[in-house]
Subunit: 472 residues, 4 copies
């Protein structure tokens, strides 16, 4: 465990102490065990318990104990039972409609400034649902914050089928947005001296380049690597978002070398480049509450301070939507997708393959990677098309890059620097991006201006190399 996590751990252990008695207090036993599916009778009993939490009978300390019991009851339910629990919370503990309507009417009639202000305040209060208080009380559970984060993850999964849960989800999102303000988060370097509990979570949450086990993990924590994560003091074992960094003597061009466990240890003193090769949001329940830009900014700062000689900060990123987009173009048969020269070149090497030699067919069968001539012929057009995909294909009316990873880094002020051929030869890498990866460069002097241009006008920063490729 790094130091600050220990601090957080100590903090949590004291909080646990704080609530241990509450959680064990007799309030806990007031809910007889519920059936996992939460049949109607149980639902009725649950409602009474929820009301008791809001009444704060016996004092607020006792109310918290009851809320903790309610939380434990929730955890014991089946998926169906939980949905019923949440619908009860959403349906029966919303705002008092009569009060809302009265306040809305009063607002309509307010004429003077102060009256208007008062009416707005009253209406805002009337709209604040009682269930929000109950959600807050769950903070009494020893792992209460994590409980609420996970509850939101479940809610998001249920919302499609249960639109009446939207308001509850919005309440929870509001609460978590307040609690997870970046001002409360702690950036930690995760190392081999970190807690096994945290490392286990890192392994579990790494979704970009899966970690194969403790040995692979240890390799990623070696002296030429860095792993940074944001933590919340009330969730010390749970990384919120983390980034893996390699310190290298040059910009990395493929992921295979980076992940090779047999590669020799790099000499950090000779590194002048930091490559962010994996960024993972670890908590589904915090979707939409973003701190990725803060993380990158902070890690760049930290590394700058520690290593004066590191001047280049860049990512080695997947292009997750490239193949899907390209397949669409190929299916549509977009004219001019390949230039005449590219077409000719490709025909030359696939001449004998007939229909199997079409770009579409080739991509569907990843055997081309094993054929040097074929691969060589594909490199030019695929790289060019990837550059086009990344820099010209947009959504949101041209204001945002189509590729989500591109959008994230461009929003943060990076520029599209280099596209790398045969950079991720894993099955997933081939399937999503034909083995291509991209470096986004964070140039400290340009970050603000890049961000500004991108977010104001959708104009994205592109290296000369990429521009040449596009003209190519």
């Amino acid at each position: 465990m790094t130091e600050a996590q220990t601090n957080a751990a100590s903090f949590l252990s004291r909080l646990k102490g704080l609530w241990r008695d509450i959680a064990r207090s007799d309030g806990a036993e007031k809910i007889p065990a519920l059936s996992p599916g939460l049949p109607d009778g149980d639902l009725a009993r649950l409602r009474i318990q929820m009301e008791a939490c809001l009444d704060a009978k016996g004092g607020e300390v006792s109310a918290r104990a009851r809320a903790a019991a309610l939380g434990r009851a929730y955890l014991s339910l089946s998926a169906e039972g939980r949905a019923r629990f949440l619908k009860l919370l959403a349906g029966a503990f919303g705002p008092d409609r009569a009060r809302v309507d009265a306040a809305a009417a009063a607002l309509g009639e307010a004429r003077e400034e102060v009256a208007r202000l008062r009416a707005e305040m009253e209406l805002r209060q009337a709209l604040e649902p009682p269930r929000l208080k109950l959600l807050t009380q769950f903070n009494a559970l020893p792992e209460g914050v994590k409980f609420l984060v996970d509850m939101r993850a479940e809610l998001m999964g249920l919302m499609r089928d249960h639109p009446d849960l939207a308001a509850l989800e919005a309440d929870l999102k509001g609460l978590l947005t307040s609690w997870f303000d970046v001002g409360f988060l702690v950036l930690e370097r995760v190392t081999w001296r970190s807690s096994a509990a945290v490392l286990e979570k890192i392994m579990q949450y790494e979704a970009v380049h899966a970690i194969q086990g403790w040995t692979d993990l240890k390799n990623r924590l070696d002296s030429d690597r860095r792993l940074y994560a944001f933590f919340h003091p009330r969730m010390p074992d749970e990384p919120l978002i983390f980034v893996e960094v390699a310190l290298l003597p040059e910009m990395a061009g493929n992921i295979q070398d980076l992940l090779d466990p047999t590669a020799p240890l790099g000499d950090v003193d000779k590194a002048d480049t930091a490559i962010f090769y994996s960024i993972n949001n670890a908590q589904r329940g915090l979707a939409g509450i973003s701190f990725g830009n803060f993380l990158i900014k902070r890690v760049v700062d930290d590394l700058s301070r520690e290593f004066k000689q590191i001047k280049t900060f860049a990512t080695l990123s997947p292009i997750p939507g490239f193949r899907r987009w390209l397949d669409g173009r190929l299916t549509e048969g977009e004219p001019g997708l390949l230039s005449a020269a590219e077409h000719k070149d490709l025909t030359r090497v696939t001449g004998g393959m007939g229909a199997k030699g079409s770009l579409k067919a080739l991509l569907a069968e990843p055997d081309w990677t094993a054929e040097p001539l074929l691969a060589q012929a594909l490199e030019g057009p695929l790289t060019r098309l990837a550059a086009r995909y990344l820099t010209r294909e947009t959504r949101s009316g041209g204001m945002a890059a189509l590729d989500p990873v591109a959008h994230f880094h461009l929003s943060n002020g990076a520029r599209v620097e280099r596209i790398n051929w045969m950079a991720d030869m894993s099955p997933n890498g081939l399937a999503q991006s034909a083995g291509l990866m991209v470096n986004y460069l964070y140039d400290l002097d340009d970050i603000e201006a890049n961000h500004e241009a991108y977010s104001a006008t959708g104009k994205l920063a592109v290296s000369a190399r990429i521009k040449a490729l596009l003209k190519g």
Copy 2:
């Protein structure tokens, strides 16, 4: 510094690291120095800066830097300038009224359930003022949370004269209520090994029985004493609320002995009683966000665990409103205030004093404390009247004790146990409560029921001794 404070300190120091660059970033220089009184020209520039924070131009990291600069600017203003700053924030960054009105109208027209829910959500969002986002961004200041707490204290002072600040104050209260949820607070024992920075604050914030200096403080942290405080991780040097406890072989009957620096050190192993002799709310800006009941409950738990032999938990409390109430009765000339026997007794010892011997006159001149016979004659009636004041005089339609300290402890589930004669002979103690003090007893078995009865019906728990006194 106790351990958890160090943790918190380390947490804060990392947070400071987190924001150091932000705070120093060029955003900081974008506000030219403001005149302390904030004349109109400066106000206009300030407004532009506030808008820039909300636009998040240059990215959220930069916006936080600008908010930090804004915060520093606020601190440089005079009282008048601050009021103008706050009024700008309150006036120019409220909800978009057109949007609010449209949403209110839509609410009126929503017929189906889902439409109603959506309309409520939209109205709630419309009512959320942009200034709330700005307040949150102040969290980027190194001491951002304390900054907001103090800003609220200032706001509360201004509200009487500036009712248009009420909504801003309500926003801030809501934000602080969320951030200071008791689930995020850390209970710490403060000792002589605590940080001098914290101890200095304790001395400064003790308002019940003022601390005379470091020697007096050290005495209150001796091995037969305890001092507990709640802290927030982002305000590690700032106690939120604290309680001073003496471990004694019997229930304390006066404050003089407790505060006597020359008293010999008590033998903790022989103590069976914990006396809470001073409870202080330290942050005016957190008024109305209560955690006193949690503090007492937690300290009782902690002491129970540490000292198996301690069975009695009680306070030694002032009766701050007694004299004011009694003077009112005396001025009104309430018939039967003194019983005939009491009257006769008093007349006997003050016979020669004439009008100067009336109860009213005696209390106005505290010389009576030096006259044994006089004091003896006063003890009966004053003690009885204090019991009446504490247990029978109410406000809020009979639902709450008139005395605020009594109300606090009765709400927490304590009972009025014993009234102590000549228990606080300080000028303040004589002026407020004729030298009387009261023990409130926390009987672990009765706390919930006492609380329940008191908060539901206003019925308060009273010892047999007090009941006897009332019967007189």
Copy 3:
């Protein structure tokens, strides 16, 4: 990482800071790279460097830097080179013989008391070899203490062939004995939240019941288990000695159940017994510097405080020397080793096996474990013989139990409580102790008296059950 390890880690990291510059200082480069085998030329250069450390030229800070360089040079040598390094240290940096002889002569002549005392002091100083100062200076290495511990482990391996290293080894033992005084050690509970670096070491050092991987380890750290270790503040990643404990509702009778990863989690609240099922000395270089007795005493204290209901503290221990001893008896053909009844019983079930049915032959082939009747017939005699081996077979002239594990626990004040049949069915368990294990019981009331009797007279504490077994 548990808290105190983090403290230690933080301590170490600061110490590293302390010595970083020293270690990197130019002194480090003053030794040109040595050949691994340390040929004569290099040896001569090394000697000059060693002398420079002792001269403290350039000040003590520089001398430490040179010692650190020397330490790194040692680490770069081959086994042969290291032996030469150590022999140089032992041979060339011993006491000044002329001074010793003069002091010894002076001692012989000292007549008066004060003269005698002075002569003794001078002789003692004369005998203190300069190399001791150099060993101390190695403390300047970032992991200097571990370096010295490992150096002693190497020395002990070399001493048989190089008796001239004995004095150097004795110097180092003296130094480590002083530094590892139990007053400086920290007892830590190791958990799943401990540092992966520490957990990796636990896995590596567990020699009694090997840990199969991270999953097996996590199982041994579950809530019904405890793992405690002593650490030294300067070796925070290195457990010195550790003990694994299971919290159970009864005394454990076999190791298979304890190590079964599929066993359900025990209910700690129902546990009344703590079983110490594995104790490991982790540092060979600390051989002969014992803290095992302190460890057990401390863990018993800690568990007693945490779990009031735990009343029984016992081990589940191997009997490592049983089979060797028994095989000796069988080879000698000791008359009466088996009783007539036992013999008859055994013959009955192995009748058809002839010579293969002898006890000696049966034990050599562990197939008997699969034959219920055979196993049943063996249980009686083997259990009885194990009781005899543990309680009656001695060394050191009858003052110590022959079995080393028995000796350790008896020295600590435990008593031989119960012998368990089919308690360790691993190949090793069968080979060493015919599958038997023993519980040593730590009865808090008897520990001192047991220890006293055992260490003074060799009399060992034995349960009634074992006594009955011995009477047969």
Copy 4:
């Protein structure tokens, strides 16, 4: 408390846990209370108890408990009783003389190399007194290390009158030298956030420029100041040695400005000089175990890292022996002490004073400081004489500067940089050094060479300015 002190505190608190039971165990009661003066009967009982500690009856854990009881008994004794205690320890628990003599004889007869080595080892062991083990056992006391440090301070005070305590003192010094090896010490920055317990000790131990109270102390911990101390993990509240530093825009020329509580806060960003204005050894019991040079080196390193722009590291030091030396010269009437020009100059301004105007008489009456003309006339000769005293007056056969502070800094590699007139106008400053102070400069590039030259040949480093002064 700074972080590492907290770590140390936590470390200590765990150690205390470790020994609490030991210290409270019944061993503690085995010594009936001793009379403070330790009469003969008590002495006999004490001897038995000491022997019991060494016998380790009941096991080593119990022996430690008995040693702790012994330690507490020591603390309860009067000065006379303690001397008797120590003499008992010194006299009755020395080496076994018969064994020593036999070993010395064997040494004389050893011919072969291995025999000689063995004889030396045996003799060394024979000379190791049993009391050393007992001293080590005192480590079991909760504050055992501090106990031993203070015991050595007492021993040193007694040695003059009791030469038979010398060997005991030497034992203790050896033990403490091993335990306080600089590799085990932690450098801490002490701040206003440090523990009040530590700050109280700093106030108490500051002997160079006494601290007037908490306000003065807080001033010395302000943002333009630094205070660093070495701590031992087992004495977390006790600084071992500490240095106070001012960060300034130029080299400080007098102490008045530095200690002025009303001086405005310096701007650290503009400081290019670090002035070490007070260095204090805090533990008399560690006399002769030096770490001052390590402290200065470390603080220089720390400040260099934190403040890139700080280039000058120098002291502002007293010249404690100047007046004593000068008075000697004046009494002797050394011819040519003043130059003719100086003499004439002085006569001119003191013409009317007659004999009262002699240098000797003037220095005896510090009124001259109030007479500008007089002071002006004295500046030249006194500064020149101070330069001579510092750089030319030696002891130890010319190998060491006569002034002890000069010797300390010159040994550390500093050079005599500048002498400051009217630099310490306190009564003590006038009495010791006629108000003069000196800056010793630590030039990182020259430290090693300076140290080397000084320690090898006594040649000291002197600035051009001082050289010019000497030439006069």
